[in-house]
């Protein structure tokens, strides 16, 4: 029924992960950097689902489920940290958050 080889999905996953890394390195806004992390997690999820289909094992889908749960928890805590940073330093620019910078 579905004639698309798994490697197509895996390469798409790699492309999305690479774009997530680029966004993570180049964006200056701390919220956008969090979004880049979410993008990378999504790319990994796609690889998990593709492998689960290719090996005909459902365990990969369970791991996707756990990754989604952990990503949701991470987003909640991360955005709380963002709010705390903005209250302390009045900026969203990551370059102004340099208290620990050597």
């Amino acid at each position: 029924m579905n004639a698309v080889p798994i490697s197509y999905y895996l390469v798409l996953s790699a492309i999305l992960f690479g774009l997530g890394v680029v966004a993570f390195v180049f964006k200056r806004n701390i919220i956008t950097i969090f979004m880049a992390i979410e993008l990378m997690l999504n790319a990994v999820n796609l690889a998990f689902v593709a492998f689960a289909r290719s090996f005909n094992q459902l365990d990969g889908l369970i791991f996707v489920f756990f990754v989604i749960v952990v990503a949701a928890a991470e987003a909640a805590v991360g955005l709380a940290i963002v709010i705390a940073i903005v209250h302390n330093r009045q900026t969203l620019n990551i370059e102004r958050v340099n208290l620990l910078k050597f």
Binding site: I31, T32, M35, N56
Partner: protein, 169 residues
């Protein structure tokens, strides 16, 4: 070109375009909206792979809950146009080549992997309705303990978010 190929390329192109928009947009709200496009396209790809439960969870939890949280924080903090700063030389000259190298290497090895050679069976191999049932059996029997630990993780995340976002001491 058969229909699955066509659908795959349409949604793959949508996902990549959304990811590029996320990088190029200067307003955080535009980045958030393009990330929602990526997530919906990925949900469609999960449907193509026969993982309909994961597709539904992707839409509900990611495109729904998590992105609403992002948009809420963007609105709350009144995040405007990203400030233009002189990019650090490290990011420019080391970060971009390394990111491209990582992308090429990942694509190369994933395309060459043994698993990649197999053809996706689609939803035909295991019945559509049975898939979610099999998933739930696996989740609540073999993976019951991690599932319960997840609830503790979420409880800790709620407490952490409350403590961190609380104003003042």
């Amino acid at each position: 070109m058969s229909l699955p190929f066509l659908l795959f390329f349409v949604f793959a192109a949508t996902a990549v375009a959304g990811a590029l928009l996320l990088i190029l947009a200067r307003e955080p709200i535009h980045s958030a909206l393009s990330l929602i496009v990526v997530m919906v396209a990925l949900a469609a790809l999960y449907l193509l792979l026969g993982a309909e439960f994961i597709a539904a969870v992707q839409i509900i939890v990611y495109a729904g809950a998590v992105m609403v949280l992002f948009v809420f924080v963007i609105m709350l903090l009144n995040a405007g146009v990203e400030e233009r700063t002189n990019w650090s030389k490290m990011a420019k000259y080391a970060g971009l080549p390394l990111a491209l190298f990582l992308l090429l290497e990942l694509a190369h090895w994933l395309a060459r992997s043994e698993a990649g050679a197999t053809i996706a069976n689609g939803a035909a191999s295991s019945g559509q309705a049975a898939s979610t049932r099999a998933l739930s059996v696996l989740l609540f029997q073999q993976y019951l303990f991690p599932f319960e630990v997840t609830s503790i993780l979420i409880l800790i995340a709620i407490l952490g978010a409350l403590v961190l976002a609380k104003r003042g001491e």
